[in-house]
Structure formats: C-alpha cells, structure tokens
C-alpha cells in the first residue's frame, strides 16, 4: 500500500505514519484514503501547536491522577500503584460499523447462553458429539455443583465482554470471550472522562455516543433480577476479591458509579439458603451479586477449598434460587480456548445459522485431522494449552508461536492438551509519539473490548469500549503480550448525539440514591474499618505527642535517669514504643494499621483524604532514616502532627455524615477518651515527679487553655478539671464521653426502644460521675474504672453493629 500523501497541515503529524501491507489500519481505509470519522479530528490536531497538544495531554494525565485512577500489580505493598497508561488518542469508529459488530456479538452472546445452559443441563452437545466431552469434564472451570442448578431469573449470563480485532481484509473477528467476570468497563468509563477533558472541541465530542444509558439500564436490570418475586427488600452488590486485586480500582469505581454495595466475601453470610449482607443493622437479604471473583474462589466449601476470599455457603444460596449471580458460577468454562474450535459448528447446530462474526480460527489437537492441518501450517500458528482461559496477548499468557522449536515434536502425537490458533495480524490505530523531530502519529496494533449487558429488552452494548494498544509497528497479536497502553473507543455518529435525558448515573440532586444505600446497608466490615481507622489515627497522634514531649525534654536534659524522662519513657514503653528510637517501629505500625483500614473503605472517603494519608505514610517513611533524638525528633513529631490534623480535617469534613462518619467519629472519640484517662493516670499521680502535670497538659494539647483559664501553676485539681471534666474543652474526657453518647444515640436501632442501648448504658455512669465529682474525687482508681468502661463500650459497639 502506498504511503498516503497529505498536503494540508496534517502532513507533518503523519510524516512517519507508514502502513503495512499485512494489516488493516483504523485511520486509513484500504484504498489509502483517510476514513471520514477521523478527518475532522486529525484536522483539529494538526491546527494545534506542539505546545498546545502537549498541554492537552498533560491535562488528561492530571485528571487521572486527581481522580485516583490507578492500576496495580499483585503485591503486599499497598502503595504499589502504577499510573493508568491511557493513550493520548481515542480510537474512532463509525456507528454503522459498530452496529454490525454488535449484531454479530449479540448472536454470539445468545449462543454462549445456550452452550452454558447445555453444559450445566442436558449435556446434549457432548452426547451428540458436537463438543469433545473431555474439554468439559477435565476442565477445572466447569463446576460440578452447578450441574442441574437453575439460575435465578432463568439466565446464566448477564454481563459479557468480547475481545475483537480487525483482520487485514477489514472485517472483524472475535479473539476471545470473557464470560467469567469481565473487567474493563469501569476503566472504559474513566478513559472516556479523561478524553472528554483532553478534547473539549465540538468534534468528536458532540458526535460521540454516550456511555451513561448503558450503565443505567444495566443497573435497572440488576435491580429487577435481585427483587423480582421477592416480598422482602433485597440488596445487590459487587463482590470484589479485595484491594490486592489488579482491577480493584474498577470495582470501587463501578460500585460507586452504580450506587451498589462494594462487598468482600466476609461481608456476606448465608442463612437458610439466603445470602445476607452483614450490616451495622444486622444481616439484610442480598438478592444479587455482580461477582468480580472467579468461581473457584466463590465458596470454599463447594467450589475450591483454598479460597480465603469467598463466602462459605454461597453455592447453597445459588442452589436455593435466592441469589442471582452475574454471571452464574461456572461460566468461566466458556472462556476455554479450545471451545472456539467448536463454536462455529455449534452455532449452526443449535441455531441453524453460521456465526455472523467469526472467531479466530482455532484447531483442537485432540482431533487428528486438525492436528495434521496444524502441522502443515505451524509457522503461522499460535499454540497454547487447550484449557487455557487467557487471551493470547495477556502479558502472562501461555501462548507461544508455532515456530518455537519444541512445538513440532508436541504435534507428532495426539495432543488433546493443545490448541492452535491462526497468528492473526491486528489492525493499527494512530498513537502519539513525541520525539526530537516533534510530535508524530504512528500506527500501533490494537484490539477492542466490547461490553454487553443483558437488560429487559435483551442484550445491550456499551457504545464504545476499551482498546488495548500494542507496541508501535508490530501488528502480530503476540506482540501485545509486551504491553502498551489503553485507549478510549469512541463511536461516531453522522449527526450530533443529544445529551442524555432522564436519570443520569450520577447521584441525583436530591441525594436519594445515596441515602438509600447508606442508610439501608452499611456493611459491618466497612463500619469496622472506619471505626478502627478513627482509633488508629488517634493512637498514632497520641504516641506522636508523647514522643514529642519526650524529645523536647531530652533536648535540654540528656540525663536518662531524670525521673520525668523515665516516667514518659515508661508511658511509651507501656504502649510498646521504644523511646530510644526517634521514629519508633510502634509509631509506624499505628499509621500502617490506619492506612490498611482506610484502603479497605476507599470507596467511602475522598481521594484527597486518601492522598493526605498516603502522604503522611510517605513522610514517616522518609523520617526513619534522618531523624535524630532530641530537638530534631521533636520537630519531626510536630510535622507529623500537623499532617495528621490535615488528614483528619479532610476526612471528617468531607465524609458523608451518615453512619459511616459516625463509626469513624466514634473510633476517634473512644480512643481519645481512653488516652486522656491514661495520661491522667500516669502524669497526674500524686507521686509523679515535678513537671509531670505540664506533660499531661502538653500531651492533651491543653497548655494554652490552662494558662488562660487558671493563670497559675498547674495543680492536680486544675489539670483534672480541665482534662477530665471541662465540657468546653474538646480534649476533655467528659467532652469525648458526651460525644460518644450523642453518636451512640444516632446508631441504628438506638431510637427503637425507650431504654438506652447497651452502648449508652456503659457510658451514662461515666458521664454522670464526671459531671458530679469534684476534681479531687477523680482518683487513679476512678480513672482505671473509666478506662474499663470505655473498653466495654467498644465491646458493646462490636456486638451490636460489627458482628
């Protein structure tokens, strides 16, 4: 194919755009002319200066960073998150082409549903010889417990993704079916948000089909599936493997976008065949799970004994018909690579129709004829395990080229374990390269992921999708294994696309959806993590204050036998802090614990809050190597305390003030009350050395107030009065106890009975005591008893809401 010539301004951008004879291209049609959907867009790009273009693309990266879009690799390190590799340019496809694609994939979706129903039903395809039985019976993704089980709602498949590519002749084909727990739709949404910021220009923006309707309709379908024929209200949620998963961000994002509960296995219990969400209100019925975990991990009792992330008894809820699954457990079997060798024939057998869109040509080596053909043509084949469920270009795929030396010998005998696929060439799409000679568009291979959702009116397709872009120049499908970037796929209409009408997917202005999900079901695990986040942050802060007090005194008095220094050191050692270490391990542990809790409820507070906490963790990490005992460590603690105040401010100011906020606040108040009591126990003791009362005031942040209120040297009475009994001092014990009581009064179920709840029953005597006693009566014993009551309060809270 000749290199296209361009006389206009785009010629500079396209100077290095070299087309290959063996692959199709998205920008240029086969005759070398630019496809009409791209023309206005390329013109826009060409009219911008290099600086303008660079600034544009920087905006996208900035947006993704601010929105907290990340991608992670499995690892223990909670901070191992990589930037999202979004390509600067979208992929543009005309709507008529997209309509054809969707028509082919709709047929395929229905076919997959029929195959699924047969594999877990009569097994007719196998007994009649249309599918080799061993591809099923030896397949670990075929789940025996599902045989004969009718899926709730009658369908096995509800959400599918198809990986498609364009052949050299311009037609589209399917590279792989994603039926287990397809990912990518959330990332597609984020890609779109970013692209709309990069390209605010009228074209392609106003001509691009929208995403919102697809998700809104799917949400409705899920709601219906969960609630149809049920008398009780049913929750529905998205089941995630947890934050260690590479796509956790997407789970978080979709759950938030659709107003669904984000659930982990431990959020769910099964009672009498009914799945329930553990909430602060007790267990509430769960009608549907959109699972993002593989079937093998879904139920350790029946589907795979090693799962730590599943729900014991989940299979029981599925069998009883009370729980709908998106998709049905065991649907991963349809992803088996060898299945594609038989689907074209199965389509004709089951429906009388050939596949509208072919899948990648596939040969199963258990068949002697197929194997012979593969041997003849091995140089243009990809070889993989027959049962493989990955895509040929996944970075960890087991797929190899047929030209690998050992392949031939494997094909010498019947090899039912192997499958061969045509080593296809993928089409190329423009990507951005900014080199010494200035910005250029260059062709890179791509595949497109198409998403389909079952709705009331049948399969609906996301109008657009998610493209994977391989390394520049190489259009071999395997080259994609080396990774690259992702791009927003935009479906372009000839006419302007109207703004979406009706309910949008964003929270509606009345906030109703949000209130409904929050009040209806705050999972106990989320409440637990918020509660402990509150506690750990205060623990961290208290230790930092004690350490600061210690190092301030160490700076002017390095006699380690000094009674006051020893007293502070003892107080630190009692909470497992080694004062000899400027940034002790125990301090970092408290912060890690807080970070860990926060990461599990990241869907419930703002990105800013998350960044503030990550920043705090980073700062502490850096201080470990540099801080010196004395003044330096004291300064370090001041920095940490300021940053902590920043985080607490962001979180408490910005979190939605409902149950979640109450648990966070409860954790803070409870921990603060306990630590105030502990400080008074230690530093207001009659035997405490000179200066101990000042330490108490300092650690409780009461020095200034005390000076103003009492205008005299601290006495035990004055300190106790301020730190234990002063209702105007937010850092007094009584203030915190009242705060806890008021929070407890707003906990679920608290107003159902005229009698105080068990939590309040623990708090009332403490409050009364503090209100009526004289400071002198608040003895060490009284403080000990109060700490015990605070400990019991935490137990009561856990029993009532976190179980």
């Amino acid at each position: 194919m000749d290199k296209p010539t361009h006389t206009d301004a785009s010629s500079r951008l396209l100077a290095d755009y070299t087309l290959s004879d063996s692959a199709a291209d998205e920008l240029f049609a086969r005759d070398g002319s630019m496809r009409p959907v791209w023309k206005p867009f390329v013109r826009t790009l060409a009219n911008l200066s290099d600086q303008e273009l660079r600034a544009k693309f920087e905006r996208a990266r900035q947006y993704l960073r601010d929105a907290g879009v990340y991608f992670r690799q499995y690892s223990e390190d909670p901070l191992n998150e990589r930037e999202w590799p979004l390509s600067n340019l979208p992929v543009l496809l005309h709507e008529s082409e997209w309509t054809d694609i969707c028509r082919g994939l709709e047929q395929r979706a229905n076919l997959l549903e029929s195959v699924m129903a047969d594999l877990y039903g009569p097994g007719w395809l196998m007994t009649e010889g249309h599918l080799p039985p061993r591809l099923v019976t030896e397949n670990t993704h075929w789940k025996h417990p599902m045989v004969g089980v009718q899926p709730r709602g009658g369908h096995y498949l509800h959400f599918l993704a198809f990986e498609i590519g364009r052949s050299p002749d311009g037609s589209w084909f399917v590279l792989g079916d994603r039926t287990q727990a397809p990912s990518g739709a959330g990332f597609a949404l984020e890609n779109r948000m970013a692209m709309r910021r990069v390209f605010p220009e009228d074209y392609p923006r106003a001509y691009t089909h929208r995403f919102a309707g697809f998700f809104e309709n799917f949400r409705k379908a899920l709601h219906q599936l969960a609630t149809t024929n049920r008398t009780e209200a049913q929750q529905f949620g998205l089941l995630t493997p947890g934050r260690a998963n590479d796509a956790f961000f997407e789970h978080l994002y979709i759950a938030r976008y659709l107003g669904m509960l984000l659930l982990e296995g431990e959020d769910i219990i099964v009672q009498n065949g009914q799945a329930m969400v553990r909430t602060i209100d007790g267990p509430v019925p769960l009608g549907l799970l959109w699972r993002r975990i593989d079937s093998a991990y879904a139920d350790p009792l029946e589907l795979g004994p090693d799962s730590q992330i599943g729900v014991p008894g989940l299979m029981d809820a599925v069998r009883s018909g009370s729980l709908a699954m998106v998709n049905a457990l065991g649907s991963g079997v349809l992803e088996t690579r060898a299945m594609m060798a038989f689907l074209p024939r199965i389509s004709e057998v089951l429906t009388g129709q050939p596949l509208i869109m072919p899948n990648i040509a596939t040969w199963w080596c258990g068949d002697d004829q197929a194997r012979a053909f593969l041997r003849e043509n091995v140089h243009r084949m990809l070889i993989a395990p027959a049962m493989s469920v990955d895509l040929p270009f996944d970075s960890n795929s087991e797929t190899v080229l047929g030209t690998e030396p050992e392949i031939m010998s494997l094909l010498d005998q019947p090899s039912p374990d192997l499958v061969g696929q045509e080593a296809v060439s993928l089409s190329t799409t423009p990507t951005w390269r900014d080199g010494e000679e200035g910005p250029r568009l260059v062709p890179s291979p791509m595949t497109v992921r198409v998403f389909a959702a079952r709705t009331e009116s049948g399969w609906q397709f996301l109008q657009g999708g998610y493209a994977r872009i391989g390394p520049e120049g190489d259009s071999n499908a395997l080259a994609m294994q080396r990774g690259g970037s992702v791009a927003d796929v935009q479906i372009i209409s000839d006419d302007r696309v109207p703004e979406p009408v009706g309910p949008s997917a964003a929270p509606d202005p009345t906030g109703q959806r949000r209130v409904r999900t929050e009040s209806g079901a705050l999972p106990s695990r989320a409440a637990d993590n918020l509660y402990w986040l509150g506690r750990y942050i205060v623990r961290f802060e208290d230790v930092a204050r004690l350490l600061r007090a210690y190092h301030l005194r160490l700076a002017i008095n390095d006699n380690s036998d000094d009674p006051l220094l020893s007293l502070i050191a003892t107080a630190l050692e009692e909470v497992d802090i080694d004062p000899a270490d400027p940034i002790p391990r125990g301090l970092r542990d408290r912060l890690h614990a807080a970070h860990n809790c926060a990461s599990k409820v990241r869907d419930r507070f703002s990105t800013d809050g998350w960044f503030a906490l990550s920043d705090l963790a980073k700062t502490v990490g850096q201080m470990v190597d540099t801080a010196q005992p004395g003044d330096d460590a004291a300064r370090a603690m001041s920095i940490l305390l300021r940053k902590t105040a920043g985080f607490s401010g962001v979180v408490t100011e910005n979190i939605y003030r409902f149950y979640g906020w109450r648990f966070l606040s409860m954790g803070r108040a409870l921990e603060r009350a306990d630590s105030l009591a502990a400080v008074m126990q230690t530093f207001c003791d009659d035997d405490a050395p000179e200066g101990a009362l000042d330490v108490a005031l300092e650690v409780a942040d009461g020095t200034m107030t005390h000076r103003r209120r009492y205008a005299l040297d601290a006495t035990r009475e004055s300190v106790i009065d301020l730190l234990a009994q002063d209702t105007g001092n937010p850092r007094s014990l009584l203030f915190q106890v009242r705060e806890m009581q008021s929070l407890a009064q707003d906990m679920p179920g608290a107003s159902l009975s005229a009698r105080p709840t068990p939590i309040i029953r623990e708090l009332l005597p403490v409050r009364t005591q503090l209100e009526v006693m004289q400071p002198a009566e608040v003895t060490a014993q009284v403080l000990t008893d109060i700490r015990a009551a605070i400990g019991r309060t935490s137990d009561r809270l856990a029993e009532a809401h976190l179980r």
């Binding site: 196998m126 039985p133 019976t137 030896e138 219990i269 009672q271 004994p305 008894g313 069998r319």
Partner: protein
Amino acid sequence: MQYDITLKIDYDYTQPTDRTRNLLRVLPRSIPGKQAVHDWTLALTPRPSEQTSFTDFFGNAVTSAVWSYPIQEVKIALSIRVERRDVQPLLSLATPLDRMGRELAAVRDISAGSPLHFTAPTARTPTNIDMGSFARDLMTPGISAADAVRRVGQAIFKEMTYSAKATDVDTPAAVAFGKRAGVCQDFAHIMIICLRSLGIPAGYVSGFLRTFPPPGKEKLVGVDAMHAWVCAWVGPEIGWIEFDPTNNQPAGSDYVTIGYGRDYDDVAPVIGSMRGAGDQSSDQSVDVAVVE
C-alpha cells in the same frame, strides 16, 4: 451382609468460633444392586441453627450444618444400618490396557458415573513422574486394565508402610510416596495417580470397614476410623471395580461406601469454615458391627 455402624467425630476449637458452617459427607449412600441404606440417625451437638441435606454431583449424600452462634466444639454422632452385597465382576470381559485410550475416546456419557470425570489430575492427585514410572514398570504386554489395577494396588501395598505418624490430612501424595509411608488416604491418592498415569480413570472412595473380620481372618487395617480406597474404570464391559491398596484386596462385602469423588476433597467427611482465630483438633471413632 448387614452392618450396624456408629461413627463419632468430635471437633474442638481452641477459641469459640462464630458462624461455623460444615458440610458433612458421612452418610453411606444407596448403590443399586450393591448397597442399601436402612434406618439412621445423625446427631449434631450442640444443636445447629440450620441443618439441611442434598445430594452432590457424584450422588453422595451431603449434610449441611450451620451454627450461627459461637461454639467451642462440635460432636457428630451417626448410627446407621447398611446392607452390602459382594458383586464380583466378570473379569473374562476385561479390556486390554492398551485399548483404554480408544475406549475412553468413544465415551460421550457425562453423567456422574462417567469415567470421563476421573481422568484429569486434581489438586490432591497431580501428575507425578515417579509414580508414573513406578506404575509403568509393573505392566507387562497385553495386560488387561483390570489386572493393571490389581497389580498397582498390590505393589503399593507392598511398597508402602502403614503409619499414622508419617503423614497428616494435608500431606501431598508425593511426599507420602517419597517416604513410602502413610495412611489409607495416602495409599488411595497414590494409587489414583498411578492408575491415571496408565490411562485408567480412577477415583477416591470413602467409607467404612467391618471392625471384626470373619472368623479365621486377620483384623484389617483402618477399622478404627473412616477408611478410603480406590475405584477404577476398566472398560465399558466391566465398568467400575474397587480395590483397597491399604489391605491389598478388592473392596467386597466387608466394605461400606459413603461416597465417590476424584480425590479426598470431593468426599472429605467434614469440610468446615468458621469465623475465628483459633485452631481445631478432632477425634474420630468408628464401629462397624455385623448384624447376625
């Protein structure tokens, strides 16, 4: 032969556990023509919050029990009367081992009894080179699949020492084979791996053995606890045969079957999950008395 069987399993948890959910596979199943189940009682203490039962894919009887309150122990007590008949296959119809591949390729049945479910390696029966060559070295030209099963079972019996101390429930079969020691579970897994390496579909059978042997015979190994042996598919004419490598004999009328599976995990007597941090320990006793 008719048996009165009592089984007691006690679980102790070091910490009280909350929301304990157990699947029990302890009830002998009916097998047409071979085994009939009469009266039984299954008592669970403390009383479960839920107790239901279902039949799993392989046709085994499963009891599901849930305790939704904290418990520190579970006692399982089963008493059941079972009738077992000795069915001797007609071995003259035996399929030669080297024809098994073709026979299997012709099988299209995918019901629970199909040999096709018992050909692939599993988590507890992964392919193993040592066991594979151990099994191959035992074969002679023209041997039938049924003879191959017996020969492998015999060889394992001779090669392995029965020892309750050598392994525990989670010891991989390869480790037990390396030590040449283990219990019935290890013997069975090793035999399954060997047979599958020869192309013979093989499965795990859990069940009971009569406590006191017929007069004049030796007391068998494994009578004090639940037992395990092997089933193998030896061609379309004979179908399934059962062999006990721990006692070097076909599983005849001295045996009572609870269930069939691909390995231990499919038929484990108790599969449990609980919320709680502690460890657990268990204790088991079995009595299989002949009803005169």
